[in-house]
């Protein structure tokens, strides 16, 4: 928590004066300050997946490719790539100019060494599932034998990655976009224990556009530009990444203390004030972040008809228009309009009368009060839950909201004792990202793991060409609104604001962790 003063004491000159004098003393260095609402954790590149860690990694390290907001890919350490005819092997041509920030040349050996380190079972790497499509390792991304991960160097400038089975290229690239390449010469003599120690990674060194210079834990990290960056010298000389409470984002932007927010955006309540500021450029962009209602189908009364009725009883438009003030989109399936696979006909209508009739016909026990688990920490979601409870009350379903912190809610929902829950997902451009919640440990719907939507989704995901995939994903969406394992509610727009002194900012790519700060210009 925490609030902030918009302006500092004008009588004593305040920090505005201090700021200009400090930048003057740094001989006209172009400094850009960006903010994020929460601090980074440990800086091991394959640790627990955290948006805030990603912000740091994006400046210091490079992966082979990065994904753009429209689903396409930008080559980073890889200049180009080609999938073979069988669709089970990708050859990457690597950039020849890339260098490590300590001066050493970047070569294919670095890629191989990184992959081998990430797949080493003695190394703690919570998000190495990114490697799961690569041959030679299991579903967790752990190697099946000693250094068996099928990543081979062909000389210094070419890397060949063999896949377990024919896979759609974008699916693999999307995961590789999250695999940061680290320097072989840095890790080759380290034991697993040393790799697992936070000290090893605390002062990150990569091939990226910004060189780590200083940090205050939990508060800020400072970088200087990598003048010999292979994609061009950044216009920015000094980059400061600050941790700022989301309530303070707007005031920081208004008085110029921060130039933009890299993740989390402006809180909804502050958006109208943000748009009035003359020094800010504001964009409201659709994103893949969505909220969904969990329905526990292991309860005998949660039949398919009841689930359909619940879906029909929810006024999604009211949620977007009243709660989100229009800054979002309704969804009926996990695939949003950003995706090329989006089926606009797969929509669930809002019809409380029909919902009530369906419930009566299904023999729903109206005298039962359903338990509704709501995690704290996201006010919009909490309010959505309250509004949904009212929607359900209007069709005769009584609910009792129980708030608890996220960990508790997750374990409760997994244990299958609660009737309803509400959680959010960051979503990705991969239309199959919802598979994890339809089958396996994360199947909070408690439907049998071989349920129809899951089966169709698996089939769609393994199709290799766009022509084959489109109709399958359409089929998936139709099946989803029929089976209704969950009630998908809405996506929330990214509310991005940045200072007018910045140019060439592409907020549409922020959602895929592709900030391209190296390409920003500063007035």
């Amino acid at each position: 928590m925490g609030l902030s003063a918009a302006m500092l004491c004008t009588a004593c000159g305040g920090s505005a004066a201090e700021k200009s004098s400090s930048t003057a003393s740094e001989s006209q260095d172009k400094t850009v300050t960006v903010a994020m609402p929460s601090a980074w954790g440990d800086l091991f590149p394959m640790g627990e997946a955290s948006y805030y860690d990603n912000i740091i990694f994006n400046q210091v390290y490079d992966p082979l490719v990065l994904q753009n907001g429209d689903g396409s890919f930008t080559g980073m350490l890889a200049d180009s790539w080609k999938m073979n005819d069988k669709s089970d092997e990708i050859t990457f041509e690597l950039n020849k100019d890339a260098k490590w920030q300590d001066g050493e040349d970047f070569t294919a050996a670095d890629v191989v060494a990184s992959m081998q380190m990430y797949s080493d079972p003695d190394v703690t790497a919570a998000s190495r599932y990114r490697l799961e499509y690569i041959d030679g390792c299991d579903d967790s991304g752990v190697e099946t034998g000693d250094n068996t991960i099928a990543v081979k160097a062909n000389g210094d400038d070419e890397v060949v990655i063999k896949l377990k089975q024919p896979t759609y290229v974008d699916t693999v690239l999307a995961d590789l976009a999250n695999v940061c390449i680290v320097a072989q010469h840095k890790i080759k003599d380290l034991t697993a224990e040393q790799i697992n120690s936070a000290e090893t990674w605390a002062k990150p060194m990569g091939t990226g556009a910004f060189v780590y210079s200083d940090a205050v834990d939990g508060e800020r990290m400072e970088f200087t530009a990598n003048k010999s960056y292979y994609k061009g010298t950044p216009d920015i000389d000094k980059l400061v990444v600050r941790v700022v409470e989301s309530d303070n984002m707007l005031s920081g932007l208004m008085n110029g203390e921060i130039d933009t927010v890299l993740y989390g955006g402006i809180p909804l309540d502050d958006w109208s004030m943000a748009k009035q500021q003359s020094n800010l450029t504001c964009q409201s962009l659709p994103s893949t972040n969505y909220q969904m209602l969990i329905i526990n189908s292991s309860k005998s009364y949660m039949t398919q008809e009841v689930r359909q009725a619940i879906n029909m009883a929810i006024d999604r438009d009211a949620l977007v228009n009243n709660l989100l003030q229009g800054e979002g989109e309704t969804i009926s399936t996990p695939i949003s309009s950003l995706s090329s696979y989006y089926d606009k006909d797969a929509k669930i209508e809002y019809n409380p009368d029909k919902a009530k009739t369906m419930l009566e016909e299904a023999g729903f026990p109206f005298d039962l009060t359903l338990t509704f688990s709501v995690p704290t920490g996201n006010n919009v979601r909490i309010k959505a839950a309250t509004m949904i409870a009212e929607n359900l009350k209007a069709v005769g379903i009584q609910t009792e909201i129980q708030q608890a912190d996220f960990s508790t809610v997750m374990s409760t929902l997994k244990s299958g004792t609660e009737d309803l829950g509400i959680v959010g997902s960051g979503g990705t451009m991969n239309p199959a990202e919802s598979l994890e919640m339809l089958t396996g440990t994360f199947n909070l719907s408690k439907l049998p793991d071989d349920n129809e939507p899951a089966q169709i989704l698996k089939k769609a995901n393994s199709a290799l060409t766009d022509q084959e995939r489109q109709p399958l994903f359409k089929q998936f969406q139709e099946k989803m609104i029929e089976v209704d394992p969950y009630a998908y509610l809405f996506t929330t727009n990214s509310l991005v604001a940045y200072n007018n002194r910045l140019g060439n900012v592409k907020p549409e790519n922020f959602g895929t962790f592709n900030w391209q700060i190296y390409s920003w210009t500063v007035k």
């Binding site: 928590m1 925490g2 609030l3 902030s4 309530d247 303070n248 707007l250 005031s251 809180p267 309540d269 502050d270 004030m273 009211a318 009243n322 704290t376 006010n379 909490i382 309010k383 309250t386 509004m387 009212e390 909201i401 129980q402 708030q403 608890a404 912190d405 508790t408």
Partner: protein, 288 residues
């Protein structure tokens, strides 16, 4: 003989209390609060839970809401009254729990002595050496936050002061001459407790209880403010102030959070005035 002395002691104390203006004011305000939060919902149609879809964060008087609505459209006045139920309940119930645990433990420590005394005193030392609110937060995180868990846990962590009072009373009373003679004629422990210990402890226990209630109200509201106490949709004065952490609410919508905060101040103040008055009335030599 002792009974008469004692009853006139309490009669005199009460007479003294009546002259203490602030204490009486506190008593009246507190009684009024209790009556309001208990009975008003039966008289007026107060609904602290349903959301008025047409009136989010609306101001005073808008749409029939006396004190306006919060960000989800719930009526502030209703929530204030129901929140009062919660906050006052937590205050009184937790103190009752503390008494139920502390008094017997103090008696045991004082009478049984030996190992029991050492263990009990060591435990009170442990509890008093650590910020209670942290222990309470951890404990509430275990069982899940709710009105019951908060009340019981605050009570579980507040018994030490009562144990100490009773313990020291037992020790001091045991040394009195009339106790020696009572024991000599075979008066049982229980009747010593009932006739001498408890009446003599009544004053400090009563006084400490009032401060304990006030303290519990403050603790619960702080925890609910942090989101670790009573959870919405249930209303508590603390979680009503929670919304003020957004700068927009803080500066532009004071009706959402100020009433609840004021309610806490008034409740605690009136209890403290009462406690002070009781202390002065029951123990006049301290008052100069």
């Amino acid at each position: 003989m002792e009974k008469e002395v004692r009853s006139s002691y309490f009669k005199e104390s009460f007479a003294r209390l009546k002259t203490h203006k602030l204490a009486m004011a506190g008593l009246i305000v507190l009684s009024a609060e209790i009556l309001i939060v208990v009975f008003l919902p039966f008289i007026l149609p107060l609904d602290p839970y349903s959301t008025d879809m047409g009136a989010f964060s609306s101001g005073i008087g808008v749409g029939g809401h006396i004190l306006g609505t919060d960000t989800i459209g719930r009526d502030i006045f209703s929530r204030l009254v129901f929140g009062g139920r919660v906050s006052l309940f937590v205050g009184f119930f937790s103190t009752a729990v503390s008494l139920l645990i502390g008094v017997p433990l103090g008696l045991i420590a004082g009478f049984v002595r030996g190992a029991a005394e050492a263990v009990i005193m060591q435990i009170t030392d442990i509890f008093m050496s650590f910020p209670a609110i942290i222990l309470i937060m951890v404990a509430v995180a275990i069982v899940g936050p709710s009105v019951w868990s908060v009340s019981i846990i605050i009570g579980l962590l507040g018994w030490t002061q009562f144990a100490r009072i009773v313990y020291s009373k037992v020790l001091s009373v045991s040394q009195m001459d009339y106790i020696e003679s009572a024991k000599a004629i075979g008066t049982g422990r229980l009747s010593i407790i009932m006739k001498y210990i408890l009446p003599n402890s009544a004053a400090p226990i009563l006084i400490t209880s009032t401060y304990s209630i006030a303290n519990a109200i403050l603790t619960e509201s702080a925890m609910s403010f942090l989101g670790m106490g009573v959870q919405p949709p249930a209303a508590s004065w603390g979680n009503m102030v929670y919304e003020a952490q957004s700068i927009a609410i803080l500066s532009t919508k004071p009706w959402i959070w100020v009433p609840a905060g004021m309610a806490i101040v008034i409740a605690v103040l009136s209890i403290n005035f009462l406690g002070d008055g009781m202390r002065d009335a029951l123990d006049p030599k301290v008052n100069i």
